[in-house]
């Protein structure tokens, strides 16, 4: 029945989009959220301030800020007398670029259709003078600086210095919010900069013993809301439109629930199914492993995304098997996968390397050494006889290309000839042993050799 397929498609589409493009719904972190929110509100009332938001990747730092902004967007006062400038350390790789984009975002006079003129010094002077000109009454500016740590590497940290300086002195009210995933970020600041920074820091750490929340989150991500929930959610999103900045763009194709319309029964039995799924002990076990693997929300999202992607008309529901298969993909070790893809010859080399580094505990090795060891084995073995040295060398190089072994000196090409260039092993004995066991149709003698170095 086509319409069912249709429905399924919309469900899949909806879930995917919500997983991928919902930048503004933050779960948990109530205190931090309110904390930041109050800060911003006070800024809107004309108080300068500065803050660092610190947390590991995928913890939801950016989401938090977005969420807070979205909350504030409904407040007329905030929208009117704040100006939001967002910078990203990856994009604004030096102060000159950063400064230009600031001037653009603040729509200052010397901007002509998105182009900024004048030297760095001029622009900086101009900007500062603009900020000085203002006082408590004038519009307050919120600087949101992603990848804050990268800005610390800029020359003299000029920009940071000036921003913090302004935020200290009684000029136009500004608020500097730095977002970073480096805990030691404070140490990166120069003394003069550090002294001007109000040491206000907010840490985001996903808690590692909240498995219930994790499962709840899992259910939430898969849960399809009823239509009226959609409604109010969509209003909230619409309010984002007020945020007018051509750089600060997460709202552009933020997912908008308004397009979606679900039949009651479908929603019900989908959600029911999910609820049932969650109850299953096997599923819980899977989730537990995932949770041990990585506790961040982003990780779970990608996992769920891939689950959802597998929905098809002929398998309209998420099954335990699918989850198990997917989870196993996360568990298995890429390197072992690669090892199993090698030819027997290359495996032999790996084994030779293993023996060498066992005997001379982790001494570096070069091709000659390994080749000598290998050919000892080749003499007695039946499979590995009459393999040309040149071929073995190629195999060795292949290992190096796949970076199962790494040269000691970086860029060592040229000076030393490659037969003699020293390498170290980028594998553990455990991995090698597993690979040997896992390898399809490995000659027994090779397996034997892997176990004991004596031939």
């Amino acid at each position: 029945m086509p319409d069912a397929a249709q429905e399924l498609a919309t469900v899949r589409c909806f879930l995917k989009e919500r997983l991928q493009r919902d930048y503004t719904t933050l779960r948990g972190y109530e205190t931090e959220r309110s904390n930041v929110r109050q800060l911003l509100e006070r800024t809107a009332e004309g108080e300068s301030n500065s803050l660092l938001l610190i947390g590991p990747r995928g913890a939801g730092k950016t989401t938090l800020i977005n969420a807070v902004l979205t909350d504030l967007m409904v407040k007329k006062s905030f929208v009117d007398n704040t100006l939001i400038v967002s910078l990203d350390g990856n994009l604004h790789t030096d102060d000159r670029i950063a400064l230009k984009s600031i001037t653009v975002q603040m729509c200052l006079e010397n901007v002509a259709d998105g182009k900024v003129f004048g030297s760095f010094a001029e622009n900086l002077a101009f900007l500062l003078q603009c900020l000085k000109a203002g006082d408590k009454k004038s519009k307050s500016v919120v600087f949101i600086i992603e990848e804050f740590d990268l800005f610390c590497t800029h020359h003299n940290q000029t920009l940071l210095y000036n921003l913090f300086d302004v935020s200290q002195s009684a000029q136009a009210p500004i608020c500097v919010i730095g977002v970073t995933c480096r805990l030691d970020v404070i140490e990166l600041l120069e003394k003069r900069v550090k002294s001007r920074f109000s040491h206000r820091q907010v840490f985001l750490f996903p808690s590692s013993e909240a498995f219930e929340e994790y499962t709840a989150l899992f259910e939430q991500l898969l849960h399809i809301p009823s239509n009226k929930e959609l409604k109010l959610n969509s209003d909230r999103v619409d309010s984002l439109e007020l945020l007018k900045s051509q750089v600060f763009t997460f709202h552009r194709n933020h997912f908008d629930p308004v397009e979606y319309e679900f039949e009651k029964k479908i929603v019900e039995n989908w959600n029911k199914h999910i609820a049932k799924l969650i109850k299953l002990p096997s599923v819980l076990k899977l989730l537990q492993t995932l949770y041990d693997f990585d506790i961040s929300e982003a990780f779970l999202k990608t996992f769920v995304f891939r689950l959802v992607a597998q929905l098809k008309p002929n398998e309209p529901h998420i099954t335990v098997e699918q989850m198990a298969a997917l989870a196993s993909q996360y568990e298995c070790d890429d390197k072992i996968e690669l090892l199993c893809g090698l030819s027997v010859l290359e495996i032999c080399l790996i084994i030779a390397i293993k023996h060498h580094s066992e005997i001379y505990d982790h001494d570096p090795f070069n091709f000659e050494i390994i080749f000598a060891r290998f050919s000892k084995f080749a003499k007695v073995s039946s499979t590995m006889q009459n393999v040309e040295r040149a071929i073995v060398l190629k195999a060795f190089e292949h290992l190096r290309i796949v970076e199962l072994i790494m040269p000691l000196s970086v860029g060592g090409l040229g000076k030393v000839q490659k037969e003699f260039e020293m390498h170290k092993m980028a594998l553990t004995y455990g991995q090698i042993q597993q690979a040997v066991n896992k390898y399809q149709a490995l000659p027994t003698e090779v397996a034997q050799w892997a176990l004991s170095s004596l031939i």
Binding site: R12, C13, Q20, R21, P56, R57, G58, G89, N90, L91, T93, I97, S101, D149, L150, R182, Q246, V247, T249, F250, R252, N253, F255, F299, K301, T302, F305, A309, Q310, D334, K335, L338, C340, G341, L342, V344, L345, H356, N366, E368, I369, A372, R373, T383, M384, N386, V387, E388, A390, I391, K394, A395, E403, V416, Q417, E419, F420, Q440, A441, P443
Partner: protein, 461 residues
């Protein structure tokens, strides 16, 4: 998405799972793309080809804008960015729209497009992605977060040979979906190779066009099972040394002509596998020494070049024509870089006092083979020492002329010697060279000029 998979599966046998997964993730351009996909596996597993074909299908069937680029080619970030822009730009975009000096401009450009025409989707595939690590620090993170930054429905596919863990830096990277393309197992390899049958047959017939009986014989001899028999023989020799399918394919084609020739000649029946095996075994083993070498020769030359290659080093030593003194210089340099300077007196001076056996020297004798200097590689030496040894081992007297000195530089040019340090200050004797040729090579050179190298090597006494 179904059509795409349907179009691809015949092209790529044994890759159904990967195609399916890709189809699920980016098969449908109405649905949201994931931010980034990482596709890795060994060479010759068809990563690049598959991605390429997949993107082409997307472009054809769903009007998705695709950009495919090779990271090696992008030796500056600018080139990378501009190539992407160039490929993705909406038609009728003026040249200036395709310029980007830095990341910011690049991202802004993309953002602008969002205003111009929304709900079109973009795919960017980067081959040899491991090179991205060597580029500017911000390239990789931005690519991974490009969807969020540009707010376009956009996905970046990274294709590489390395596991993704090799990319981690100290601040970590944002989430990415990794897909592994497993190496083909033996059965799959066999299947893929036998898919080559038609091509081989066509070649064969084309080659035989002209003589009738040859054609007829070929017609009835050249059957799929005949070919698959051949392939199983072939794999039994090659599979252990090489699993790279394109490589195998090439070699298989090369050797097949030898395999079938007696059948065409009528000396062996097409059904008599054992005799065919006896016939082919030699050439196959010979070809095994040639694998990876990519010598592209007409089949008739194959066996003669293979049997010349098995003593390749001797061949080389003879084929490499050096002037007489050049040869001696080479030998001298080898001795210089594989003996310690302390030994020189003992080795080269006629009447050195008989060295007394001290305990330590006895111990030195008992050194393990893999600590021999010939395996640990050459040490460096100064030009003066080289010349001294040269004169010591050369019987006749020869003037130290600039022709002789220029020989040294010639050897350096030929990469037989190489500078270790001090290329620029050769004037004061601080420049140091080392000899880059192997032992057996020098042994052969020595044979040619009638000089026993071994007896001058510390390792062998």
């Amino acid at each position: 998405m179904e059509q795409i998979c349907a179009a691809l599966e015949p092209q790529f046998p044994c890759r159904e799972t990967t195609i399916k997964t890709l189809g699920e993730l980016i098969g449908n351009c109405e649905e949201a793309y994931p931010a980034a996909i990482y596709l890795f596996g060994h060479t010759g597993t068809g990563k690049s080809a598959l991605t390429k074909a997949f993107l082409q299908q997307c472009r054809k069937q769903q009007k998705v804008r695709v950009a495919q680029l090779n990271a090696i080619e992008c030796y500056t970030t600018k080139i990378l960015l501009e190539n992407v822009l160039d490929a993705l730009a909406p038609q009728g975009a003026e040249e200036t729209a395709k310029r980007a000096d830095n990341m910011l401009e690049f991202v802004n450009e993309l953002r602008r497009w969002h205003d111009q025409e929304n709900n079109s989707s973009y795919l960017i595939a980067v081959d040899n992605a491991e090179r991205l690590r060597d580029m500017d620090a911000n390239v990789l993170p931005v690519l991974l977060r490009l969807q969020q930054l540009t707010s376009l429905n956009l996905c970046v596919l990274l294709v590489s040979q390395l596991p993704f863990e090799k990319y981690y830096n100290k601040t970590g990277l944002s989430e990415i979906i990794t897909l592994h393309m497993a190496q083909y197992n033996k059965a799959e390899t066999l299947r893929i190779l036998s898919a080559d049958f038609v091509h081989v047959q066509r070649q064969l017939l084309a080659g035989l066009s002209g003589n009738e009986k040859g054609l007829r014989k070929c017609e009835q001899a050249m059957t799929p099972e005949f070919y698959s028999n051949y392939l199983s023989l072939f794999l039994s020799v090659f599979y252990k040394a090489c699993r790279d399918v394109p490589e195998l394919k090439l070699t298989a084609r090369k050797c097949f002509s030898i395999y079938i020739e007696p059948v065409l000649a009528g000396t062996i029946e097409a059904t008599d596998v054992s005799r065919l095996w006896r016939h082919i075994a030699g050439p196959l083993r010979a070809a095994l020494t040639q694998i990876y070498m990519r010598f592209d020769k007409p089949a008739d030359e194959l066996e003669q070049q293979s049997n010349e290659s098995d003593q390749s080093v001797r061949k080389l030593a003879q084929s490499l024509e050096l002037p007489y003194y050049g040869k001696y210089l080479l030998i001298a340099s080898f001795l210089a870089s594989h003996n310690s300077a302390k030994q020189d007196k003992r080795l080269f001076v006629k009447h050195h006092g008989k060295q007394k056996k001290r305990m330590q020297t006895v111990n030195a004798k008992a050194k393990t083979t893999d600590k021999m200097s010939t395996t640990l590689g050459p040490k460096s030496f100064s030009i003066d020492r080289l010349l001294a040894i040269f004169y010591a081992i050369l019987e006749e007297k020869v003037g130290l002329t600039c022709n002789l000195l220029s020989q040294i530089s010639t050897l350096v040019h030929l990469k037989l010697l190489s500078f270790v340090s001090g290329e620029q200050n050769i004037m004061d004797g601080s420049a140091r060279l080392q000899c880059t040729v192997g032992l057996e090579f020098v042994l052969h050179i020595g044979k040619v000029v009638g000089f026993n190298v071994r007896q001058y090597l510390c390792d062998f006494m």
